[in-house]
Amino acid sequence: MERLIFVLMRVVVTLKPGVQDPEGATITDSLQRIGFASVNRVTVGRHFDIEIPGRDEDRIRREVEKMCESLLVNPVLQDYHIERIQGPQPAG
């Protein structure tokens, strides 16, 4: 029997430029207050690490793109890009 092979992709989501980031602003403030006076700005983003079976990275990337568009990313407020973290390897 063939073992399943997985690829691990990371979707990195950031706020669109110009969109307000109250969380980032509050974190910046707090860092300054607790002694990191020089911090100029902190912005917050998130990522999704997606484990998906297959070997064909192009196909997988397109699949992940579709996931972003249908669920993971809010196109009104967020931008994203996809990074490969691990190439095909047996599931962990």
């Binding site: 110009g18 969109v19 307000q20 980031d21 109250p22 509050t26 009104v76 407020l77």
Partner: protein, 735 residues
């Protein structure tokens, strides 16, 4: 004067050629680009009410309890004992359609600041929502997003969301409605008007720095319909910061304890332009603002952007000269920036400067009351006759129990628990009756008294008959307040309509206002404020006319407020009010079971309404009832099922009716004031006396007990359902 290259034509400012000429006339010169942009916002439909004002003048706005009527940031009513309640409702429909979470969240933020602006502490929120059919995944996305936005913002600022309503109808598929009402409480001495008086007094902008977000929100997003190019408007989407809002609330309320502050105003639609010109207009003064002093989020913002930005979580504070230090210090303690951006003047002109350079110079009255007013053409709808069709032809259901379960599990009638569970409805520890009751009740700490609050709207009725539908909406709010023992006091309203330039829409608008005005006059609930939202339309599909009423009532003794749940086996089930007039026409039964939205909408019988309301209220305040509810959407059986489902012990009841009408009409018919009361045996006499005194019919229709709802008509058992099965059905609708 400085010139702004970005907006040159009146069209881009959202104005007409005639309006542009009018501006030139009032200014006695052509406006420059910045001035034109400011006019564009202030004369937009959203800010100027240019299509609606003429009609709104019909509304009754005065009453012994009214301390402040329309025109201010919120209406205020006197509660006695030196206390007053401020309240208002506002829409955030367009922003929520573009980005449901943030659109709804910032809607909550906006209405909170309106209440804060009159000097009241916000104590309650209510949300009135409309969406298309939930089977559509796009609608589902809007619905869950809006609920989560309200929950995120309201919970975080610590103002409980104590009630609201939600309906699903294809009419809202493209244009969801998100109306939020806020209620605040204050001592009567603390009434702060949004006025700028006293030339030389400093003007502050407090809270968030001004950013590029929300530019053109009022003129473009809220004052025209959504079209294919919505994507382009997306940069206007704003992200709410409830944390900063909470600090603004606490900072401003602390500031109002001292007399260092003369006036407050929120920065909402049309941002600084509107806040400055409206406070000056109310005070009969002018204002001189240096945009250099306005804190910004981005360094390269133009004067145009600064004056038109609708960035959230900002307030305009008119201080008293000499108190600058106290003002700045108080806000600093709440971690808020207060920047002095100018001063009050006596020239009745709004001057905008960049340092020494004057950028705009506009008479305040020209921006505000100078806006045009339109008497837009109206035309009754052409398909009126078709809607009068009767309900006679529809088949009588084989199994009334099945029909009941089907009705109960419909999204329009089912339990709203999955929504209000996500709202903190208890913070503030005043919520005596939580969501799920006919109206929310909040106690007023330190007294026995309380406030009863409700929102209500019915687009289906208003589409069938705008005038009667609007009157019925007011009546339904009235019933909800009476059902918890409250005395209805006053009304705020949000009028959600399609394109006002469409004569049929304008006709419905005019009819709705007329119906609402009559009902509010008859029921002695003056209108203290409101909001109009037009252009809820996508291409040629407009929403149903949807006036949403927010009503405030006063409860003399909150310890008497009953729930609607059955309490004790053996209690008599009584019906009070217009007992035998319910019809299937224009009912939820026709809508849900037969897909028919038709039939004449009944006229409100105001005498019957007042009598029944008084009976219910007095029965409650005399502690004669164990439970009370009004019978509304879905008719008698839905009300009875809700009483069973709300019973802590899972009690049912047995009803014995004598009636010759069709059983479905008897069980599910709607119309007229009807209250369902459960009364211990030894209090039945009290009810009989009250019935005589109030001249309101009361009839015993059954007895509480068992764990089933059973209905016997003329001695024959026609419906039987276990209370757990009712609960299950009610729980299914929104999952």
């Amino acid at each position: 004067m400085g010139s702004e290259p970005r907006m040159a034509s009146w069209e881009e400012a959202g104005l007409t050629a005639k309006e542009y000429d009018e501006i030139c006339e009032q200014l006695r010169r052509p406006p420059n680009a910045l001035e034109l942009g400011m006019y564009g916002l202030m004369w937009s439909e959203h800010c100027s009410y240019k299509s609606s004002l003429l009609h709104l003048e019909q509304l009754p706005t005065e009453g012994e309890r009214v301390l402040q009527g329309p025109g201010e940031n919120a209406g205020i009513i006197d509660l006695g004992d030196g206390l007053a309640a401020a309240f208002r409702i506002e829409s955030h429909n367009h922003p929520s359609a573009v980005e449901p979470v943030q659109g709804a969240a910032t809607g909550v933020g906006g209405i909170l600041r309106d209440i804060l602006a009159v000097g009241a502490r916000p104590i309650a929120l209510l949300d009135s929502l409309r969406f298309g059919n939930l089977h559509d995944s796009r609608v589902e996305h809007l619905f869950s997003g809006v609920v989560s936005g309200i929950s995120q913002y309201g919970n975080s600022v610590g103002v409980p969301t104590v009630g609201g309503e939600v309906y699903f109808d294809d009419a809202y598929a493209d244009n969801p409605l998100v109306n939020v009402m806020c209620v605040g409480i204050m001592s009567t001495e603390q009434l702060t008007r949004g006025t700028a008086v006293g030339p030389g007094n400093p003007v502050y902008i407090v809270g968030a720095p001004t950013g590029r977000d929300g530019i053109h929100g009022a003129s473009l997003l809220a004052s025209r319909q959504l079209g294919d190019g919505d994507g382009d408007m997306r940069p206007a989407v704003q992200v709410g910061d409830p944390f900063r809002e909470k600090l603004l609330i606490e900072g401003c309320l602390e500031m109002l304890q001292s007399d260092a502050v003369i006036g407050l105003n929120d920065l909402g639609a049309a941002g600084l332009t509107s806040a400055a010109s409206e406070t000056a207009a109310r005070g009969g003064t002018g204002m001189d603002i240096d945009i250099r002093a306005v804190p910004r989020r981005e360094s390269d913002m133009t004067p145009y952007e600064i004056m038109l930005s609708e960035s959230q979580e900002r307030m305009l504070v008119i201080g008293r000269r000499g108190c600058e230090e106290e003002i700045e210090e108080t806000f600093r303690r709440w971690e808020l920036d207060a920047a002095c951006i100018g001063k009050v003047t006596n020239d009745e002109v709004l001057s905008i400067r960049d340092g020494e350079r004057i950028l705009a110079h506009i008479p305040v009255q020209s921006l505000t009351s100078g806006a045009p007013r339109y008497d837009r053409p109206t035309r009754p709808p052409s398909d009126c006759a078709a809607r009068e069709a009767g309900a006679e032809e529809i088949p009588i259901p084989h199994d009334a129990g099945d029909a009941l379960l089907q009705m109960l599990s419909h999204p329009n009638l089912c339990s709203r628990r999955s929504i209000y569970r996500q709202y903190d409805h208890m913070v503030g520890i005043d919520t005596v009756l939580t969501p799920g009751a006919d109206a929310a009740v909040l106690r007023i700490k330190g007294t026995e008294r309380g406030l009863a609050l409700v929102t209500d709207g019915n687009g289906m009725l208003c589409r069938l008959d705008p005038e009667r539908g609007a009157a019925q909406t007011v009546a339904e709010s009235y019933r909800n307040i009476c059902a918890v023992g409250g005395e209805p006091l006053a009304v705020t309203n949000c009028l959600n309509f399609a394109d006002p330039e469409h004569p049929e829409v304008m006709h419905a608008f005019q009819q709705v206002v007329q119906g609402m005005a009559r009902a509010c006059r008859e029921l002695n609930t003056p209108v203290t404020g409101g909001n109009v939202s037009f252009y809820n339309q996508t291409l040629d599909r407009g929403i149903a006319p949807t006036p949403v009423i927010g009503m405030v009532g006063s409860v003399d003794d909150v310890s008497r407020c009953p729930g609607r749940g059955f309490q004790r086996p053996g209690d008599a089930v009584l019906m009070a009010g217009q007992i035998n007039t319910a019809k299937l026409a224009a009912s939820q039964y026709l809508n849900i079971m037969h897909g028919l939205q038709e039939g004449p909408v009944p006229e409100v019988d105001y005498d019957a309404e007042r009598r029944a309301g008084e009976l219910c209220r007095r029965a409650i305040m005399e502690d004669a009832v164990h439970s009370a509810t009004d019978i509304s959407d879905g008719g008698l059986m839905i009300a009875v099922s809700e009483c069973g489902a709300a019973s802590d012990e899972g009690l049912g009841c047995r009803l014995d009716l004598t009636d010759s009408r069709r059983p479905d009409e008897l069980l599910f018919g709607e119309g007229g004031p009807r209250y369902l009361l459960t009364v211990p045996e030894d209090q039945i006499d009290t009810l009989v006396c009250l019935a005589r005194e109030t001249q309101c019919p009361v009839e015993r229709i059954g007895t509480v007990g068992g764990s089933e709802v059973q209905v016997h008509v003329n001695g024959e058992l026609i419906l039987r359902a276990s209370v757990p099965s009712l609960c299950r059905a009610r729980g299914e609708g929104l999952t």
